[in-house]
Amino acid sequence: MNTETMAAKPPHAQLLQVQVRYVAKAKPFEDRMAPETTLSSLKSKVLEFFGLTEGNVGGGTKNYNFVYNETTVTDLSLTLASLAGSEREIKLKLVEQLTQG
């Protein structure tokens, strides 16, 4: 294995354990992901996992947000590492943005 290959694939121990719960579904999204993974990238995978579509849906707009430690995270350029700090696992919630009357 050359050094380039090693750099492209972080060792298993460096990966973060990621869990995302969508409150409408019983089974959470779980994966081991590189610390530099952005929330934007994670969100794509999570929406696909739960079978959700964001944006224009049936003439209206549907959006989903991550919640981390009871705070909505809107900056999707953040990396998993920047949220997790020294922790090796990160747990997020996916919530549907409210439609208000």
Partner: protein, 147 residues
């Protein structure tokens, strides 16, 4: 009228609620008069001392919009604006949480049901979903108790 299937699922779901990470934050009581009804004492993450008693009732379909009211825990009164938190979509003086997951919201906006973007989300965990959704609203949009 709740079906036997809904009643059975309701019981199962209550067991699931107790296993949630947030479960220690809630005091949950069954309603005596409504089979699919709960009283949930909860607080916003930002203000743990601000306790609210949410009354959740599934008057129609357990998998559909639920009624959400905030009641006075001392008297049980459900028409007191001061029992309500100020949160996104809530109108405490009208006693309405006008959001797309509540029965009250859909009553005011029947057009929501026909639109995929605003209809009630598909869920296989209706009770945990309802409690967690209300908790998330409290955690992310709380602006204090209504006077």
């Amino acid at each position: 009228m709740a079906t036997s299937l809904e009643l059975d699922l309701f019981e199962v779901q209550l067991g699931e609620v107790a296993k949630l990470p947030n479960a220690s934050r809630w005091k949950i009581q069954r309603e005596k008069v409504v089979p699919l009804g709960l009283l949930v004492t909860m607080h916003p993450a930002s203000n743990p001392a601000d306790l609210y008693q949410a009354r959740l009732r599934w008057n129609g379909d357990l998998f559909g919009p639920f009624s959400l009211q905030f009641i006075n825990p001392e008297t049980g009164a459900d028409r007191e604006a001061s029992a309500w938190p100020n949160c996104a979509g809530f109108s405490p003086t009208a006693f309405v949480a006008c959001i797309h997951i509540t029965e009250e919201g859909h009553r005011l906006h029947p057009e929501w049901r026909a639109n995929p973007a605003t209809r009630f989300p598909e869920t296989d965990t209706p009770v945990t979903f309802a409690i967690e959704a209300v908790q998330t609203i409290l955690d992310t949009s709380y602006q204090g108790r209504h006077p």
